[in-house]
Symmetry: C2
């Protein structure tokens, strides 16, 4: 199961109970000055990253957060400043605080508002890295609300037709409530994560074709050459165009940075300049909707095409990976785990 594999940093994979993962990261964050609530919300999001097999959004981020706090560019006790600018537009200054508490306050505000307005948007600036986006839209879907979340990120992706990294991997998550489990898309608009490029380079393994270009802009499967180049957008020119309009939409509505000026989620010294956008739709406010489950079940029941194992509805695999990791232990890189334990002293 692809999602179970954790990217190793050389120390091998260690499985820890979810409660232990949460307790350790919460304690570290509290030590670093985060109040208990925000510490818990940040810790939960690091756990979600590892539970879903996305180590780059898991506990591996904690040392970066610790350094950002030490350098004074992340304030773990910041209070977000939400302002309703209209009945359905919320802007939030995160005060350079931890991302998850800021985003969770925004989701709560949207969920309180959107049954009445039908649509509501939160535009967030100066908040730390949100982690996986899926949990925020899943929270909306659990309340019967369709949600979209998107965010800008450091320029790692080249525009179609040129070599330099100028666009973020700008992920987008969408959750649609159904009678059963929600449909949940959570994807980066880059072909591959930088973490995977680093891991492939460390192991000397080739990248998938089309995943990256070298410094001249020529496609390469050499991960080391890709580190001097850029990640390719998924889906060629269409993926580039999608990544770009997401970046422009977020910057337009949040007043945050573009391209190479986006900073503060990978580095440890720069004030955060990315933005986050959350959009909520209450289907009940639109009148009679359409039952989605029969169609989704029809997709799931299709005979697999040659070389495939069948059709996944977005969110199905992540749920399965998460459930399995909850049962057998959260996969974490052993070196990272020891590094985080050392932060407690």
């Amino acid at each position: 199961m692809r999602g179970v594999i954790v990217e190793e940093h050389g120390g091998g994979v260690h499985r820890v109970p979810a409660a232990e993962h949460l307790a350790l990261t919460s304690a570290v964050l509290t030590d670093l000055g985060a109040p208990p609530g925000p510490a818990r919300e940040q810790a939960e999001m690091l756990l979600e990253g590892d539970l879903r097999g996305h180590a780059s959004h898991g506990i591996r981020r904690l040392p970066v957060l610790a350094e950002r706090i030490a350098h004074g560019v992340l304030d773990p006790a910041a209070e977000p400043e939400p302002v309703w600018r209209t009945d359905s537009v919320l802007t939030v200054d995160g005060g350079t605080g931890l991302g998850p508490p800021v985003a969770h306050r925004a989701v709560e505000a949207l969920l309180a508002r959107v049954p009445g307005t039908g649509v509501a948007v939160a535009a967030i600036r100066r908040a730390g890295h949100l982690g996986m986006l899926a949990p925020y839209v899943e929270r909306m879907a659990a309340a019967g609300v369709a949600g979209i979340a998107t965010t800008t990120s450091e320029a790692l992706v080249h525009p179609w037709g040129a070599a330099p990294a100028m666009i973020g991997t700008n992920p987008i998550a969408v959750a649609i409530p159904t009678a059963g489990e929600p449909v949940v898309l959570d994807m980066a608009t880059g072909s591959i994560s930088r973490g995977k490029v680093l891991d492939h380079a460390a192991r000397g393994e080739p990248l998938p074709a089309g995943a990256a270009v070298d410094a001249t802009g020529s496609p390469t499967t050499d991960a080391t050459a890709a580190l001097d180049g850029a990640i390719s957008p998924f889906g060629g020119p269409k993926g580039y165009a999608l990544a770009l309009v997401l970046e422009l939409l977020v910057a337009s509505l949040t007043g945050t940075a573009l391209g190479r000026d986006v900073r503060g989620t990978l580095d440890t010294t720069e004030p955060v300049t990315k933005g986050d956008l959350l959009i909520a739709f209450a289907p009940t406010a639109f009148g009679t909707g359409t039952p989605l489950d029969p169609f989704l079940d029809e997709l799931r029941a299709l005979e697999p095409a040659p070389g495939h194992h069948g059709v996944q509805v977005p969110g199905d695999r992540a749920r399965a990976v998460r459930a399995r990791n909850l049962a057998v232990g959260v996969p974490v890189d052993r070196t990272t785990w020891e590094q985080v334990r050392a932060l407690r002293t």
Copy 2:
């Protein structure tokens, strides 16, 4: 210039002045019972399709509209019924009328409302084919409003991992206003249009790799085999997931059909069951935005990667193609042109 090429139906390409194109299609639509205003708006959208080099959204659609009217499944004189369900949610029953007049009334309503609400959504059902989506979001951008338009369409695309066509080519258009020309994305989530597959099959030319599968679900470049199979989503599993969540979002908010139940834009006998969603954001309601033009100009000025001609900002190419076709004449298939002229008698 790729967009200038018109798909031929065997009669060769004919260039006509835009005014002549508009006059002929308007007259045909008026003959068919459309009031002058709606006839003009439908005619303009057919012109936009041909002007931008997308013949499948151009005058070629007019005989289909005529047959739909003859079969009583399209009412060219329908009055749309818009209802503001909240301050920022508009639902519109198009009354089986022509699509462009319905969508234009919705855009006008959104533009009147969104400066105050910051965000507004129109959910449209029972409207005919809208044509290209770009002009609607361009109209929003011209008013300083960021727009998203998406629509469901007949199932022509296979879900990732199975053979049958179960999902629409579900296009999405996004326009972001800038100090200069807007950034305009307008793309289908299918790899290729059905019109292109038909044309390739007629010419015996191979499809691009990855564009389609045969009846067993195996990738094929044989256009004839693809006609018995399905179009592939752009960008592999990510493109599939994106197409699917767009389809679910539209169906959820408009109360329209899913998958194979989506009808009425390609056929001539079925009542329309697709839905359309327009979302408008007024950046001014969100506070201070970010100037976008310096970043866009930086992208345009990048040195081309090997084998490329440089970076396009979405919308740049379509504007250039449109301007050229306005100057030299609108490309139309000669057989189609004669077919439409015959509709006047």
